[in-house]
Symmetry: D2
Subunit: 328 residues, 4 copies
């Protein structure tokens, strides 16, 4: 049984708490959060203890850390965990600053601890199945990947600053997904952005609608279609065109009940947002981290992947601002 110290008792921390508890090999050992009330709710529900950062890092009973705290605390926590020999699971991003990221990864490497970066969508059973079908040759060589990723509704404009902007916050998942599905690294990126959803986002210097095109060494093209507001839930789709046809991963709907009536045939919207849509992905991600903890495998999504996604996000920003394709 591996004891896990959970940093951050917020929305995503609560998701991981459930999965840590339900997994037969992991135990929610302690919760660390400056907002004590949130931490206490979790420790009460799961018979865990409250710890400070220092206590958790120094506690030899802690085998792994699950970092779900605010983005600007990630790098320090990763470094502390590495120094203290804990296996690391960290929610994306490692940091919004590429220099910080690289510094952080060098510490992890030096201390040789396993580290898994939480690009949750890689574990989504639908996308996995699509990738497996591609790998099995179902549609031959990949030619065009089309990623649709649209949030249900926009964040407050203030969020743009905290989040590092749409490319670093939201598109970063899709940039990682393109590398994950195609299994190669892009050679160029061209980004187009627009502020259509909320003028305040534009005033904050950010965009809310984007199209990104990447070229890959094999000649394959990837297109990402983003919006901060779909109006109908979380729109998360993949389309992979290959030599012999198409693989398509559609949206998961809130339910399968259809109502046919005077106004048409109505089915449910896509699941609302990431907590619902990627519930199974989070479980599978944690299963993977348990495999890493048990030494059964290496992290499938390492710090280098986290770094690469950030590099792409910054290149997209540069392309959008310059109006030119950026070669990588």
């Amino acid at each position: 049984m591996f004891n896990i110290a959970l940093f951050g008792a917020g929305r995503i921390g609560q998701v991981h708490a459930v999965n840590i508890n339900n997994h037969l090999e992991t135990n929610l050992y302690s919760v660390i959060d400056p907002y004590l009330e949130g931490a206490q709710k979790l420790t009460a529900a799961y018979q865990a203890k409250i710890q400070s950062v220092e206590e958790a890092m120094a506690d030899p009973n802690v085998h792994g850390v699950c970092i779900c705290s605010a983005t600007d605390t990630h790098a320090d926590l990763i470094k502390l965990a590495a120094i203290n020999g804990k296996a690391i699971f960290c929610e994306k991003p490692i940091d919004l600053n590429l220099i910080q990221v690289r510094d952080c990864l060098s510490v992890v490497e030096k201390h040789n601890v396993p580290m898994l970066v939480g690009f949750n969508r890689r574990y989504d059973p639908q996308f996995r199945h699509l990738k497996e079908q591609l790998g099995a040759g179902t549609v031959g060589k990949a030619e065009s990947l089309i990623i649709t990723s649209r949030d249900p509704s926009p964040p407050p404009a203030e969020y743009s600053e905290v989040s590092g902007g749409m490319f670093r916050d939201m598109t970063i998942h899709d940039l990682d997904m393109a590398r994950f599905i195609l299994g190669e690294d892009p050679v160029s990126i061209t980004a187009h952005g627009s502020c259509l959803v909320d003028p305040a986002i534009g005033e904050a210097g950010d965009i809310d609608t984007a199209v990104i095109v990447m070229h890959f060494p094999s000649g394959a093209l990837a297109t990402i279609s983003n919006s901060r507001r779909s109006g109908y839930g979380y729109d998360q789709r993949l389309e992979l065109h290959g030599e012999k046809g198409l693989l398509q991963a559609g949206n998961m709907k809130e339910n399968l009940v259809e109502h046919w009536g005077a106004t048409g045939c109505i089915s449910a919207k896509p699941q609302l947002f990431f907590l619902e849509r990627y519930e199974d992905a989070y479980i599978a991600e944690w299963q993977h981290f348990a495999d890493v903890l048990a030494g059964r495998c290496q992290p499938a999504c390492s710090g280098v992947d986290g770094e690469f996604a950030l590099v792409l996000a910054e290149a997209a920003l540069e392309s959008m601002k310059s109006g030119k394709t950026v070669t990588l």
Copy 2:
């Protein structure tokens, strides 16, 4: 070019007028309808002539008749046409009275003219495709056929008397479809009915909701699910379960545009009613009659099929009234 005399310029007559005109081998030669204004609209549009029943039947230029007039005129027109050596296309039913039907068929047989009874659904490309797949062994031996047939909205209660009741008027299509798809004749029939849509229909001695179960010699079961009112258009589906799986013919929708929004994902309703849903079926049916006229084939749906469907409708009525299965 075959000259066609069209009896009846109503809704269904107009459908056939278009198809007669568009077919390269047939010509709308004359229209016969006591309601002169309706007939004149068609003759003006298609450069055809107005005729009386007697004129049309006596006219040697008329090669075939297309009978789309009121049900109670069918039998007489069929007999006249047979006596005058015209090829006969007649909308279902031949007559509501089985003795009349048999009398009528004997005249047709005696004069040895080709006769096609208009069970339009047999020519529907979707149902044809399902039947071909079944014939090709895609799902092995047929085991269960489920026919869903629901009208968009109920007819006026007065119609029950004219139409001979729901089984003779509406279910008759499904009874014929079961024989058509399974390629065998049922050995028993059990019918359940209810008046749920409009109490006036019940007062007129008719039903508006029904379930019919038939056993076939091969052991296959057919279930028909009927209603006079769907609330969402014309619901016309087939499900054929066989040894190796299922063949399903779904509804055709009014269009393929989906609207995803706050209230869900809305697609169009099924096409409104038979004129829309079976537009292609009517064209294919007329193509088949042109093939019959040209001697390229025998009528695929003969008077005997029309008779059998009526026999089944009457057996269903008897079963519903007696609460017992009727052996055929």
Copy 3:
């Protein structure tokens, strides 16, 4: 925390073990199974203890029992649990013999313990949602309910004897579902059966294909379509036609990835069988039992429901054998 004694460590017992463990209010306390190896696997995984029937029933730490053992042990275990004041969850059926069922229920009633009968489908989120929509008036008054329930592949012919035959074993779920959805008890039942899938099943005196029609006091009709072999997974659908339209609960597929290629557009089959299809239903069912244990509600599916379903199964058998509608 409620301690649960689990009787039966087989396929369905293992499902409940996971759910007992994952629920924050219940604890897998002990496992009772004559096949010791199976029991030990569970006790090892969940830190539970092995007990005998007698030990578990006598143990004051046991708050509730979860009966997943062989059908012929259900009645005795229920009675023992009732006498010992344990809350009871029992997989369906209570017993195959109606007299035994009634005897058993009288013991439960006498000792006034809560008892939940495991008609798992009642907790399926899809069917729940359909029922809620019906209750909310989305389609007005219910008119026709169509239940499709087809197993992926037939059980061995020997199973017919153990299971009490298809109606008592398989259709019983659909009979209960009809009552659950429509919220009323049928007034008559007519059953049709055929042995089409496996002749050995017929030789064992059972059927493998069936259509059942029930009339309800409101005039509503319910049709059940059953087969022991679909050829494409577990086919579990509901269709509810009401005054204002249709509510349809479709199948859950193994995944949402579509492959479009030379042979067509291929999507995944329905989930294989009940363990996959009703995974969420089992979780919700256990949540409900936890609510019962905590005194937050009464069992939504009581012994009387279990009894009624068996009454209907026997009436269906009588109808099929006699070829007549059975009035209830």
Copy 4:
């Protein structure tokens, strides 16, 4: 009745011949084609006459021309028809050379004859319905348009030269569609291309896979996804994201029959190619030309639209070659 001279008796000429014949206001008067055998087949089927270009242009009985001949003959035929006062329907493109196009349009303008350019997809009932829904405010202001257009299989490499390359030949439809749906003209275009399908196409200096992004004055973005080979039929889809949701026009499949079996749920492929997919569009297009002939309306797709589409195709080419966004 308007008499039509049909230039070109090939594949697309035959489509128009059927529609000219079936329309009650138009008459296939003559066919002009240097390949006499093809012309004769049509004249025999429709009781039309063979004419030379000169005869047809000089014939006062000819009210309109339908130009379906080789692309390099379009401009001359248009000019001749204009000079002779005939109403003009011309298949796209007017010409592959922009100077020729402008010269041609000035002649048409001078002689003041109505001219309709055959961008057939504008008349497709599905795309029309989507545009109407957008116009009706169903999803509010348009934000992102995504056009998927993939041919079933690539043309021979030699075709690249004749056709003017993929952008001028194939993408031109999508460029026109973007203007048609959004109702505004783009301000910039960025094009990405790859030769992935057939190396011979690359050797001929053309591409077979492309992504094009356009910005519109309103801020809306349009993305076009093209391939010369889908592997599963003609993939023709529109997705319009607006303020309040999504409008999606999916593919039309060859039939609606689904086969559920051991390998999954198989439905039909999209209709094979443009003759099948746009059958209804061609009929509606001809109806529109009949309206123009009868003076009931002006051409909805004029020579200027044909010119604009070519301008966009050339700008796309320039963008792809330069690797820069082209401002319009």
